[in-house]
């Protein structure tokens, strides 16, 4: 049975920059910890020099790593709906997988999901498709074991909605669509 499962999401606001939220749930989908960042904006120099890899740097290496460091109980696996967060794999030992967001379920907000130019590969576990960086050596057996430990009603997409709502609650400035 999984002790905990992390859900990490980063959203971008045109004016205020990047917002990150990290929700750690137990196997029953109940919250254990929640961490979020204040908005950050990369400098002009960072925008120019990181180019296409800027989102990976900001979302994965900076926000993702900072949020993960805040957790008291680092989870066994982190899921994200934000492709650049996969860069967290390069700076952390905890495996991070991408679960593509269900666009039909996305609430209408002024927050968008940053994109990534880094290629990924598909990882199929049961009937669930994940994505990982090409160079990540992740064992589907381990992931299967973790997911099997979750309660049957645990929906993997659902916690991201909680994160977005919590981000908007914590940062009312981004609430207007």
């Amino acid at each position: 049975m999984a002790d905990s499962l992390g859900f990490l999401s980063v959203r971008q606001h045109a004016e205020h920059g990047y917002f990150g939220g990290f929700l750690i749930l137990n196997a029953m989908a109940r919250p254990l910890e929640f961490h979020c960042t204040l908005p950050i904006k990369p400098s002009r120099a960072q925008v120019l020099l990181y180019g296409a890899t800027l989102n990976d740097f900001v979302c994965g290496e900076q926000i993702g790593q900072a949020l993960l460091k805040k957790s008291k109980q680092p989870p066994d696996l982190i899921l994200t709906d934000c492709p650049p967060v996969l860069a967290l794999n390069h700076v952390s030992d905890v495996t991070t997988l991408l679960l593509r967001e269900d666009s039909a379920r996305q609430p209408t907000t002024s927050l968008t999901t940053p994109t990534s130019a880094t290629p990924t590969r598909k990882v199929r576990v049961g009937d669930q498709d994940f994505e990982s960086p090409l160079d990540l050596d992740c064992s589907t057996e381990v992931i299967t074991t973790i997911l099997d430990g979750l309660a049957s009603h645990f929906e993997l997409q659902e916690p991201f909605q909680r994160i977005v709502e919590a981000l908007m609650e914590a940062h009312p400035i981004v609430r207007a669509a």
């Binding site: 049975m1 929700l23 749930l25 137990n26 196997a27 029953m28 989908a29 109940r30 919250p31 254990l32 910890e33 929640f34 961490h35 979020c36 960042t37 204040l38 950050i40 990369p42 120099a45 960072q46 020099l49 990181y50 740097f57 900001v58 900076q62 926000i63 900072a66 949020l67 805040k70 008291k72 269900d102 379920r105 049961g126 009937d127 669930q128 997911l147 099997d148 979750l150 309660a151 049957s152 009603h153 645990f154 929906e155 993997l156 997409q157 659902e158 909680r162 709502e165 919590a166 609650e169 914590a170």
Partner: protein, 606 residues
């Protein structure tokens, strides 16, 4: 003027001077169009041009001079974070056990379905919770359906989605009114929210107050929806009741009358309730009543009110219920808009029309009919004479006297007592022609059996059946069966009393209210015989009333109330029991309410 120019460069030798590299002199020959040539010479600055320019030379060693470098370092970005940690002992766990079925369930490829997009109800923090951590506490909880599915909670029936919303509304609120229309399951929603509070240990001591006849119903509902919760009914003699009040019990049920008897007992004890729920909370709409005073004095942390009619007569009713929920939050002097805004977060009201979306539409048609000449004469005479008689009664005037006059006038609106003429009958016949031609069926409601019997003869060609108090009970089922199956029977004549409840006539698409009941709720129940789940199609309801008569005045008063209700709750629902108050009944004839008049509404009496 146009001219051409010709520049000439002169050498020093020509002018007899010694020049350097810049020794340049020139003149221009400008030829005017007239043929005149003018020579111009540069003067004044030629001396500067003739000076030698001092030139110094320097050399740089490019190979050894490295360019300056400005370092731009990309370390960690200045990130500030905020954290919330959830104490497993105090969150909304509802038990932390994994679904026992999970362990027994084989781990097959298709199971469990983690992608199912079923409806999810989220618990939203109420607006009066200000602290961000507290708001996030609710926002970060899983959907209510998941919470309930993961706990040891079982339901005898799957709740409707709107019921989940009601539970999610009540659960986080310290002051709330659940004002759903009657029949939508306020009881179940309250019990489940109570269940969640108890299981999450946010409440340990709950008091539910209801009218005495409903105590057993609440017991039964608790047994059905939350069998694991021990429920104690406060009853028996004073000694026993005192014992019950002193005991620790998760849920106690008391009736309003008993609460008044035990007032001192409650005041003397150190009891504090985590939650007090008032069922049929309109009982405290009168601020000065003993019931309201006692309810307000109960020591408690949370206050919930359940009522289908938060407003029966005026906004004051709602203000007074709020005195129990959140004293001072609403004030009588506030305008409707402010009251609506201020109460919005505390009230949840749904009607059947809103939540039972599978129902076909219900269309109302108000027919304003002109009395026939004979009816008009008889009506005026009766009204004038009646008002004079009422005024003559002076202080002995009672509400009953007014009722008698109202009923007399309403009967004249139905039929001319002399000639038998009826503007309503004329209109009804015309409509029924069309209904019968399209092979549809209709129900005609009246409050008088005599009126129904009188209608039967002129409407004989539509095959009318009768269903009222003079039809023996044993025959009534056969009447309904015949109406349903016999294609020649297009019409059933029903009294409000006999036909307004318990019948399923959803094969009828037309309902006529030949005369109007005092109370819209009774009319709604009558209409709902046809407009109910399973209805074949849209139901057209024709409300007949005669212009410039008592019928129109009653209609206007009731519509004002409906409008007031709609303004406050932004719904199209009908306030249950929103009948006429005593003042309004006297006001129908511009009579002042006598000082000895009893405060009672016709709607409640009816």
């Amino acid at each position: 003027m146009f001219f051409t120019r010709k520049a000439a460069k002169h050498s020093g030798e020509e002018d007899g001077h010694q020049f350097g590299w810049a020794d340049i002199a020139f003149h221009e020959d400008m030829k005017w169009q007239s043929g005149l040539t003018v020579q111009t010479h540069a003067t004044g600055w030629q001396g500067q041009l003739s000076r030698c320019i001092p030139i110094e030379s320097k050399s740089w060693d490019i190979q050894n001079n490295a360019p300056a470098v400005v370092p731009i370092r990309f370390g960690s970005m200045p990130l500030r974070t905020m954290s919330v940690f959830f104490d497993p002992a105090s969150q909304v766990p509802l038990g932390n056990k994994q679904d026992p079925g999970d362990k027994q369930r084989p781990k097959t490829k298709s199971q469990p379905d983690r992608k199912s997009g079923q409806r999810r109800t989220r618990i939203k923090p109420p607006s009066d919770i200000v602290k961000l951590e507290d708001r996030l506490y609710y926002l970060l909880q899983p959907p209510l359906e998941n919470l309930l599915a993961s706990a040891e909670l079982r339901f005898p029936f799957q709740p409707f989605p709107y019921q989940f919303e009601g539970i999610a509304f009540l659960f986080p609120r310290e002051s709330a009114i659940l004002a759903d229309e009657m029949g939508l399951g306020k009881t179940m929603q309250a019990i489940t929210a109570i269940r969640m509070l108890l299981l999450s240990q946010q409440a340990r001591n709950i008091l539910l107050v209801c009218p005495k006849p409903l105590v057993t119903n609440w017991q039964r509902e608790f047994q059905l929806w939350a069998p694991e919760i021990p429920v104690t009914v406060v009853e028996g003699d004073a000694t026993r009741r005192n014992f019950i009040w002193q005991q620790n019990a998760p849920v106690r049920i008391a009736n309003y009358e008993l609460l008044m008897r035990d007032r001192e007992m409650l005041e003397d004890s150190a009891l504090h309730f985590d939650l007090v729920v008032l069922d049929e909370a309109q009982r405290i709409k009168n601020r000065n009543s003993t019931t309201a005073e006692i309810a307000r004095s109960l020591p408690r942390s949370r206050s919930w009110a359940l009522t289908g009619t938060p407003i029966e007569n005026s906004v004051e009713d709602l203000v007074n219920i709020f005195e129990f929920l959140a004293p001072g939050h609403l004030r009588s002097e506030m305008n409707i808009r402010t009251i609506s805004k201020e109460s919005r977060d505390h009230i949840l009201r749904r009607t059947k029309d809103q939540v039972l979306t599978e129902m076909p539409p219900k269309m109302f048609r108000d027919e304003q009919l002109e009395l026939t000449l004979g009816q008009r004469d008889r009506y005026r005479a009766a009204e004038d004479e009646g008002i004079v008689q009422l005024e003559d009664l002076g202080e002995t005037l009672t509400i009953q006297h007014v009722f008698e006059l109202v009923l007399r006038l309403k009967q004249i609106c139905n039929f001319d007592p002399v000639s038998g003429a009826s503007c309503k009958l004329e209109r009804l016949e015309a409509d029924l022609e069309e209904i019968a031609a399209s092979r549809k069926k209709a129900i005609v409601f009246s409050q008088w059996v005599g009126t129904l019997q009188r209608l039967a003869e002129p409407l004989a060609r539509f095959g009318p059946l009768q269903y009222h108090g003079q039809i023996p009970s044993a025959r009534r089922d056969a009447v309904i069966q015949q109406f349903k199956e016999d294609p020649s029977k297009h019409l059933i004549l029903m009294s409000y009393g006999a036909g307004s409840v318990g019948l399923n006539l959803q094969f009828c698409e037309y309902v006529f209210l030949f005369d109007r009941w005092w109370n819209p709720a009774v009319e709604d129940q009558a209409v709902n015989r046809a407009h109910r789940i399973g209805a074949a199609g849209p139901v057209t309801v024709t409300r007949m009333m005669t212009a410039d008569t008592i019928e129109q005045r009653i209609h206007e008063v009731l519509e004002e109330k409906r409008e007031l209700f709609n303004q406050l709750f932004a719904t199209a629902g009908t306030p249950r029991h929103a009948g006429l108050s005593q003042d309004e009944i006297f006001g129908l004839f511009n009579l002042a309410t006598p000082r000895n008049g009893k405060s009672k509404s016709k709607g409640q009496a009816a």
